[in-house]
Symmetry: C2
Subunit: 245 residues, 2 copies
Amino acid sequence: MFNPSQQGYIPQISIDCVIFGYQNKQLQVLVSKLNLEGNFMSLAGGFIHQNEDVDTAAYRIVQQRMGISEIYLDQFYVFGKASRNNIGFIEKVMELNTSTFQSKSETIQTYDWFNNRFISIGYYALVDISSVLPPKDNANQQTGWYNIKNMPELIMDHNDIVSKALESLRQNLDQKLIAFNLLPETFTMKEVQELYEAILDRPFARNNFQKKILDLGVLQRLEKKFTGAANKAPYLYRLKKDNTN
Amino acid sequence: MFNPSQQGYIPQISIDCVIFGYQNKQLQVLVSKLNLEGNFMSLAGGFIHQNEDVDTAAYRIVQQRMGISEIYLDQFYVFGKASRNNIGFIEKVMELNTSTFQSKSETIQTYDWFNNRFISIGYYALVDISSVLPPKDNANQQTGWYNIKNMPELIMDHNDIVSKALESLRQNLDQKLIAFNLLPETFTMKEVQELYEAILDRPFARNNFQKKILDLGVLQRLEKKFTGAANKAPYLYRLKKDNTN
DNA sequence: TATTTATTGTCTTAATTATAGACAATAAAT
DNA sequence: ATTTATTGTCTATAATTAAGACAATAAATA
C-alpha cells in the first residue's frame, strides 16, 4: 500500500479485496490496521502490474495477505467517483505521523502518484478461516477478523465497498454455489445452514433446508461425526470432487 | 476514439458501452464502423476525464453517440487481461491506411499512449430505438443496429464484451425492471412479451405472462390501441410514474 | 345486418414447488 | 432401561407456476 513508487504499476487503478471468512456462526471480514500512528483500518488492497491480468493481481493481493493459494475470488464492482482520491486520507496520516514524514511538501511529492484520483476494482474473496493462520500482524493487534455486523470505521470508502460486496455475495449465493468456500473440507448440514443464515441474515427451516441442499446434488455424504453429545450424530459432507460422478 | 492525446484522460482505462435497442422483434446492438479504410466495427467507447465520475463518462459516451439524455446504464464487468491492448488493432489499421498514417514509427509515437495495455469497464445501455435518430454516419453505411444473433466481427475483444453484456442483462431482467427502457412510452402487452422472448430467447405462455407482468404492479393501463385488425384491440400500457400511487 | 375470424383478457384447473408439521432413529447421559 | 436432545426424512398443507378454456371484441365477410 505504501510503495513509494508506482514503478511498473498501472496508474490510478487499485484493487480492493473484501476477504470474507466464517467463524462463531458469523460472517467475518478481514481488516488490516495500517502500520502507522492513528487508527487506520483498511481492506486488503494493491495495484496492478503492467503485465498482469487484473484477476491475477487480485489473487496476488489476497494470497500475500492470507498465505494460501486456493482462493475463491469474484470481481463485483468498480468504484469510480471522481472524488475518490487518497488526499484526505494522506493528510490525516501526515497529521498523526509527523516523525515519519519529515515535511509536508516532500511527502506530497513522494506520494504524488498516490494522491491522484483512483478507480478501484472491487473483489470479494471467500476463505476457510480454519485453514489459514491467525492473520495478526505482530505489531498490529487490531488487525484481524471483524463481524460483518460490527465493522470498524475503515479508511476512504472501504465501508461502502464492504456493503456492496455483501450485497453481491448474497445475490450470487444461490446461482453459483460459492458458500462452501467458507467452510472446511468437511462439514455438517447444520453448519451449512448456520452459514446461510449468517450470510442472508434470516432463519431457515431445518427440514426444508436439508432437502434443498441435498437436492442440489453437489454434496457427498461421509461418515458420521463424533460429537460426544447425548443425541444422534450428524453426518459429515463434502463437495463432490467431480460432478460427473 | 482517435483523439491523438490522452491529455486530461485517465491513462490505460477505457469504457466500452454495449448499446441495446429493440426492433423487428429482435434485440439489437449499436455498432459503429470506424472512419478508416478496412472493416473496423466497434462498440461505443471512450475514456474518462480526470475530474469525471466513471458513471458520468459512460453517460457522456452514450449521449454523444445517441443524441438523447435519458439513458438507462448499468456497469456490468471489467475486462482486465494483461494482453488486452490495441497493438494488433493499430497494426491492422496502419496496414490498410498507409495514406493517412505517414510513417510507422511516427504513428507509433503519436499513439503511444493508445498502444498501452488498457483495462476496460463495460457498461450496457438500454435505449428506445423509436425515440432516437437513425444512427447512421453519413460516411459509414455499415454503422447501425445489428441483431444480437447475427453480430459482425468487431475489433479487439468487443464480441466478448457483447456476450457478457447480454448475460448480465438477462440476469438483471427479473430483479431490476429494466426491459421497459427498450420500449416506447406506451406499448401493448404483446410487445412486452415479444421483448422478453427476444432477450431471453425462449417463448412465454401469453396468459401467464400477462398475469405475471400485471402482478408486478408497475404498469398503468391506458386506452385501447387502434390496430385496424379484424379482432379485439389491445390495451396500451405505460410505466407508472410514481410507485406510491 | 348477421356471421366469421383472429386476437385479447381473464377465468378455472392441473402440476409443481415451497412451507409446515410429524415422527422414527440415535448417541450419550441418567 | 429410560430419558434427552438432535438428526434425517417422511407426509400434509399452502403457495406458486403452468396449462387449458372461454367470453369479449374489432373488423372483414357473407
